[in-house]
């Protein structure tokens, strides 16, 4: 599940990817997302899923703001009883990925060019209709923004993105 609560990259300061481990209870998402809204923090995206431990859910939140704002966000999140751990991935090496599905107009005369773009970006065409393709692309946010821009002249009918997920490199865990 992903929420994009504000427009892309309009926020001041740096973007941070934070991972929040929470107890897997109903209503936890409401507590976390409500906290951001209530205290005026800017969420770029929020993704939540189960983890290797069924009692624990993992949220990945991309948030804008300077160091002081991020410190407050971290502290306020830690005050929520069901929040177990908050990790800021800006501090150390991590891989980040996002998946997007893009439904793009594909008239016969444009198909070759679209397929070429797909190949260059190591994306995949997962549905091919008479007038449109669905393209699946995985990567960092920049890469997805880029393929979106290149496909835009053909006419993007629909797009859905998962929001960023991240994991620390090496043996380190959240």
């Amino acid at each position: 599940m992903a929420l994009t609560l504000s427009g892309p990259s309009s926020v001041q300061g740096q973007q941070h990817i934070i991972t929040v481990l929470v107890e897997n209870h109903p209503g936890v998402l409401a507590r976390v997302s409500g906290l951001f809204a209530r205290r005026g923090y800017n969420i770029e995206s929020l993704t939540v899923s189960i983890t290797e431990n069924p009692d624990v859910s993992r949220m990945t939140i991309v948030v804008g703001g300077d160091e002081l704002v991020l410190e407050q966000i971290t502290k306020q999140l830690n005050k929520l009883i069901e929040v177990m751990r908050v990790v800021d991935y800006t501090e150390f090496a991590a891989v980040e990925r996002e998946l997007a599905l893009i439904k793009v107009n594909a008239e016969p005369r444009d198909r070759a060019e679209i397929m070429q773009i797909v190949e260059v970006f190591r994306a995949r065409i997962i549905d091919m209709g008479e007038r449109a393709f669905i393209i699946e692309v995985t990567g960092g946010t920049d890469k997805i923004d880029k393929i979106r821009d290149l496909l835009a002249p053909h006419g993007i009918r629909e797009m859905v993105r998962t929001g960023v997920i991240a994991m620390a490199r090496g043996s380190r865990t959240a």
Binding site: G27, Q76, K79
Partner: protein
């Protein structure tokens, strides 16, 4: 033994030592009220509106340090609690609010009297629970009370669906957890030793230090430590509205309250200090005014149990996360005695130059009422106030001597709080004199609780500072909105004396200070009936000093007749002496306080 969920809930309250529950029945709590029918060790206080129940639990908690408990039915009963819960949240007061809920099978179906009260109260509770199985009740209540009273205290709500209250399960008595262990909730109570040593060094190096003490010192029961620190170092203390009582206000080192309506000398001291020692205080906007001009030359030590308060408004040079009492005890091991110096003299000069003044011309002023209440009760009464001008005058003139003697709505500023809070305090401290000082506006927001006070025979004294207007709003309209007095006129109010009598209370109306003294004296003789004194005070008065919102000490407005009133012969009232009894009060260990926490 098989018990219903409702009976188990009462068992849980017994384990937590709950003696009073403030509540109001309704459909979704019928099983709970049925269980209460046979319950004789927990006193249920029947209120007249659920908001009153929440404020009573809050007043009870402030008067004792114990967790206050309120109970309401689902839907409107639960939503009526919300203001009281929000009030407790803003002031970090430990209460547990229990609400009924519709059956689990119809939750989400817009059933009769259904409201998503856990959803509604997320922003105003420290935590909340929706119980879906009676077997979870013991753990839930143990966690609810634990969360409410530990760390930075606050309100916790437990929502109990009707079928959970009815559900019968086996109860052996040992299901209640002996110890609560919540891996994701472990407040830090011991401050960082290195930071504490740095704080001691900063105190030793400072030439113009000030202690700025807030409600955290009250909730952690640190009056003795605050007083010891001030006395050993000769550092003057200013308290926030909620910090009143953290040191006796009769103490020569106490400057009274700071901030918008604080004393001018406290504000000058803070503005000019080189070290601000913030203890359990949160740099509220009513304290700081314009944040970047607040104590502009000061290094800041900030001691607070809530890490999120550190750096939220002002970035401290020396942050210390921990329980105030625990941290101060360690700090006191490192702090050396220091003599009073020029700085103390400077503050004394400000104190002489800018005293609190009001016309002592025999007219009935709220300030005079407050001072008389203090003198007539030897400054021992528990004082609960409402919100507005009378509250600020009470904050200025009621010289709180002990912690938990001053009960007021700070962060939320809830009109209507005073009367129910006073009732809660009177239940908590039945042998002490409890006064409610209210205004003609505030009093009309929870008047119905006079019936509660009356039925239970509480000897409360309610003094209404009746200036026939919404005085504080009127003051702002006069000062900042070109005297356009929009909807602040309360000339048309009920006859408060008749209203008191209608509730089987005693009512007096007074128009002079002499009459007030006589009425108050008569009220003091009452032991089992509430008394309402409608005080027709001089109208159109404003609270001074005042630092307008978002401004600085440089814009502080003083009483227009300061010069004249300062030199009046009786400008320095009696009763400021700090005697042996005051010293004893500072030693009182507050039995129910929240500071005695084990390190997790």
């Amino acid at each position: 033994m098989s018990l219903s969920g409702a009976q188990i809930m009462l068992e849980c309250l017994r384990r937590e030592g709950v003696a009073h529950v403030f509540g109001y029945p309704g459909g979704a709590v019928l099983p709970i009220y049925d269980a209460l029918y046979d319950c004789h060790d927990i006193m249920h206080v029947l209120v007249r509106h659920e908001q009153g129940a929440a404020h009573m639990a809050d007043g009870y908690a402030r008067a004792t340090g114990k967790v206050g408990v309120c109970l309401a039915t689902s839907g409107p009963g639960a939503t009526n609690l919300v203001t009281g819960i929000a009030n407790a949240y803003m002031d970090s007061i430990p209460i547990v609010a229990i609400t009924g809920q519709v059956r689990t099978t119809v939750i989400g179906k817009d059933a009769f009297q259904e409201a998503d009260i856990t959803g509604i109260t997320i922003p105003v509770t420290k935590h909340n629970f929706l119980v879906k199985d009676a077997a979870d009740l013991p753990r839930t209540f143990a966690e609810a009370f634990h969360v409410a009273r530990t760390g930075r205290p606050g309100p916790v709500l437990v929502d109990m669906p009707l079928d959970v209250s009815q559900q019968r399960i086996e109860w052996s008595g040992d299901q209640y957890p002996q110890k609560v262990d919540m891996p994701s909730y472990r407040p830090t109570t011991r401050g960082h030793e290195v930071q504490i040593k740095r704080a001691a060094a900063a105190i030793a190096a400072a030439t113009r230090p000030v202690l700025y003490v807030g409600g955290g010192a009250i909730s952690s029961g640190a009056q003795a430590e605050v007083t010891e620190l001030a006395e050993r170092t000769n550092i003057l203390v200013t308290t926030t509205l909620l910090g009143k009582g953290a040191i006796s206000e009769a103490h020569p080192l106490c400057m009274g309250m700071l901030g918008m309506h604080g004393t001018a000398y406290a504000n000058h001291a803070v503005h000019n200090c080189d070290l601000l020692i913030a203890i359990g205080a949160r740099f509220d906007d009513r304290v700081t005014g314009k944040v970047d001009r607040f104590a502009p030359g000061a290094k800041v030590i900030h001691i607070d149990i809530d890490p999120a308060e550190i750096g939220k408004v002002r970035q401290p040079e020396i942050p210390i996360v921990g329980d105030v009492k625990t941290v101060l005890q360690v700090l006191l091991k490192h702090v050396e005695a220091r003599p009073a110096g020029e700085w103390n003299e400077q503050i004394e000069e400000w104190r002489q130059r800018f005293p609190l003044v009001y016309p002592r011309d025999g007219g009935l002023y709220t300030e005079a009422i407050v001072e008389h209440i203090g003198e007539a009760t030897e400054w021992k009464a528990v004082m609960a106030t409402d919100v507005g001008q009378h509250q600020m005058w009470a904050a200025q003139y009621f010289r709180t001597r002990a912690p938990r003697q001053w009960i007021t709505s700070g962060g939320l500023g809830t009109m209507g709080y005073g009367l129910p809070a006073a009732i809660g305090a009177q239940f908590a401290r039945p042998d002490e004199r409890v006064i409610c000082l209210s205004g003609d506006g505030s009093f009309q927001m929870c008047t119905q609780e006079l019936m509660t006070a009356s039925i239970y025979g509480l000897p409360l004294i309610v003094c209404i500072s009746n200036n026939r207007s919404l005085g504080m709003v009127r003051q702002w309209q006069e000062m900042f909105y070109h005297e356009r007095y929009s909807h602040v006129n309360l000339e048309q109010s009920p006859d408060f004396v008749k209203l008191a009598e209608a509730y089987n209370c005693i009512g007096y109306r007074v128009t002079t200070l002499e009459e007030f003294r006589a009425a108050f004296s008569a009220a003091m003789a009452q032991t089992s009936r509430p008394v309402v004194i409608d005080c027709s005070v001089t109208g159109g008065e404003n609270v001074f000093p005042m630092i307008p919102s978002g401004q600085t000490v440089n814009e502080m407005r003083m009483h227009s007749r300061l010069e004249e009133l300062r030199s009046a012969p009786n400008a320095d009232p009696e009763g400021w002496s700090y005697d042996e009894e005051d010293q004893k009060l500072s030693q009182i260990v507050d039995a129910g306080h929240c500071g005695a926490q084990k390190e997790n």
